[in-house]
Amino acid sequence: MKTVKLAIFIGLFFISGLAGAAALSSYTFADQEEEQAFRELTAKIRCLVCQNQSLADSDAELANDLRREVYALWKEKKSEDEIVDFLVSRYGDFVLYDPPLKPSTYILWFGPFFLFLLGGYILSRTLKSKTEDKEVELTNEDQQRLKTLLDDDNENQEATK
């Protein structure tokens, strides 16, 4: 199915002319840590015109503009939270790859725990019933049938030899 991803990428080409690189090269940073922090921030932001690419990886024109804006805010020493708030106020939660925790996303963040609890419940219940289960006792009749089944099998084996 990944071929279709390619179809997506084609689409993306038409919009952006994806070049793969060249994203952050025109910005300057005090040190490597700062550059890394900026990269991590932009990696969590979605490029709005691309199909599924982060701001850090995209070369779409709009992504370039937005990146420049983020960089300007960054240089004004705005905190990460402030920058994220600004982006969300403009574009909504859609712009964030990491959905924020708020009432409408409780299901997304707490739902998994319920799934885990459910799994744990099934596990403990099954284990309980299985460890308490009695072995299936074979009646005489069963033994008899078992013998027939086995004999059949042996005969088959011999027949093939």
Binding site: M1, K2, T3, V4, K5, L6, I8, F9, F13, G17, L18, A19, G20, A21, A22, A23, L24, S25, S26, E35, R39, R46, Q51, N52, S54, D57, D59, G92, D93, F94, L96, Y97, D98, P99, S104, L108, P112, L115, F116, G120, I122, L123, T126, L127, K130, T131, E132, D133, E135, V136, L138, D142, R145, L146, L149, L150, D153, N154, Q157, T160
Partner: protein, 666 residues
Amino acid sequence: MIPEIGHFALVLSMCLAIAQAIFPLIGTMNNTPSWAALARPLAWGQALFLTIALGALTYAFLVNDFSVRYVASNSNTLLPTVYKISAVWGAHEGSLLLWAFFLGIWSAAIAVLSKGLTQEVVSRVLAVMGMVNAGFVSFMLFTSNPFERLFQIPAEGRDLNPLLQDIGLALHPPTLYLGYVGFSVAFGFAIAALIGGRLDASWARWSRPWTTAAWVWLTLGITIGSWWAYYELGWGGWWFWDPVENASFMPWIAGTALMHSLAVTEKRGAFRSWTLMLAILAFSLCLLGTFLVRSGVLTSVHAFAADPDRGIFILIFLLITIGGSLALYAWRAPSIFSGGRFDLISRESFLLGNNLLLTVFTFLVLFGTLAPLIYDALEWGKISVGFPWFNKMFLMVTPFLAVLIGFGPLMRWKRTDPKKLVKKLRIAMIVSVVIGLIAFLPAISTGSLLVPLGMFLVAWIITSHITAIIDRLKHKQGISHIFADLAGKGRSYYGMVVAHMGVAMFILGATMVSHHGVEKDLRMSPGESAEISAYRFKFEGVAHTPGPNYTANQGEFTIYLDGEVEAVLKPQKRTYFAQGRPMTEAAIDWGLTRDLYVSLGEDLGGGDWSVRLYYKPFVRWIWLGGLAMAIGGIICISDRRYRSKKEKKPQQAYTEAANTLVTEKS
């Protein structure tokens, strides 16, 4: 003319698929052996006509028949021959044809390799596969026909998407599809068992090698896809939790659970319904993946169904298949975890834990993938669920799984003495905890708790498996027995060990590259150097180079380690004639302990270029791990006991007979 033959063959294969879906099934129900016996010849016929169809389309590509719309959209006279062949499955219509073709091949394989099975089972399995293929081929004929003609024949084709002009992409879809389609066999066996009501251990035994084979292909397909994305997309990543990636990953997780559950069903006659459910789930996820990807629902939440007809067709198909099989399941399946008793510390209970974790994980990925769609549909606002969320979920599940893996091989069926178990694993535990603690050193951990955790798990999986092998050989005649064991029926055991080592290799690679990888975006002038990790990348400049169907700017980088030349890398920026789009072709110097990766960005004028440089430690281990998992699966399939039903040992016959009885009693 040739495309019409292909078209005609496709129509015929649809007719045969419909016949295959109906007659053998009815034949098994009202005892008409002649109808039931139609299954094999029909499967043969279907495979034959689908081969003709695929051959016709391939021919159209090879002779540049641009009167066929699909060829005109995806090929070009200048396209190298190898990519003309891979272009056959380069887009929607052709990839569906490949899907259907593989289903035909799997059906034919069942027809040939099912000598040990009763006619009834073969007929039913093939009938189910016929239903699936009837759906797929009619989907193709009614909404996405690859043989559609153009009445103004273009002089030149639009060329294959440059991203696809690559060996990774030539291989990725076929392997992935073989896996997807392969799960239809497990599905067919499950449905046949439900129809027949004979849910004993024998269907699990028949289904096992087929399921493993499908899983092997899927593993390879995902691995190749990830590797391709890494070197071709120029972003240096190997997994992005993209919906399309998740679409292939979900059936893989469910399939992994299925393989383990099948072991319990075969050996102990237990978990029968659970196994059936997983078989249905795995195949449903393959179909769902196809729907998600093909309908365009998820690629962009803004545009529901790039082509609504296609989306709706698949959706209906999906509802019938999944709904129908679940209804059948609800009607026929016995209570979910049936079978004999076992202790808390036993192989059954640990495999149950493995299964529940994997199933929870499958649903987590499904939930995260569909969440944006659900939110949009319920008007809860638009959200994105990306890698940060998925990574958290992944990290919630995998450590538990990795811990269980270590115990698994030493566990016995029914009950294991916990004291003995701890005693056996004592050394493995101490060694892995020590390694985990060493990894807390700042130089190794880089301040993240995940590095010690990852290293602990890697060490744990390796040492516990070594312990298990030593233990196994001790019960036989010592180390020298290993070869006899390998030649004999121990093969599936060693296959498991190899596959589990693959998991350890994957964890090692993923942990290392995530925490020790370095990436730099730079503006570089010719002659300039940049330091990354211990390496010095010197940019020599960019020159023009011609290609068969593109021209390229080729950069040259000399990489030094301690003053010695380590590698010369030549990344390209290509412009394909037909589409005129720039493409980045990264250059990689690969190694077992590190990849050095360079990709060219923009020409900034005056000989300057923007470039991306990466140092990727142990990144190969991610794919080598995937490869090891696949090889492990192949070793398991090669186990003698799957090949010959006749060589059954009395003990096995006894178990099976007992299982049959137990099944009937419960």
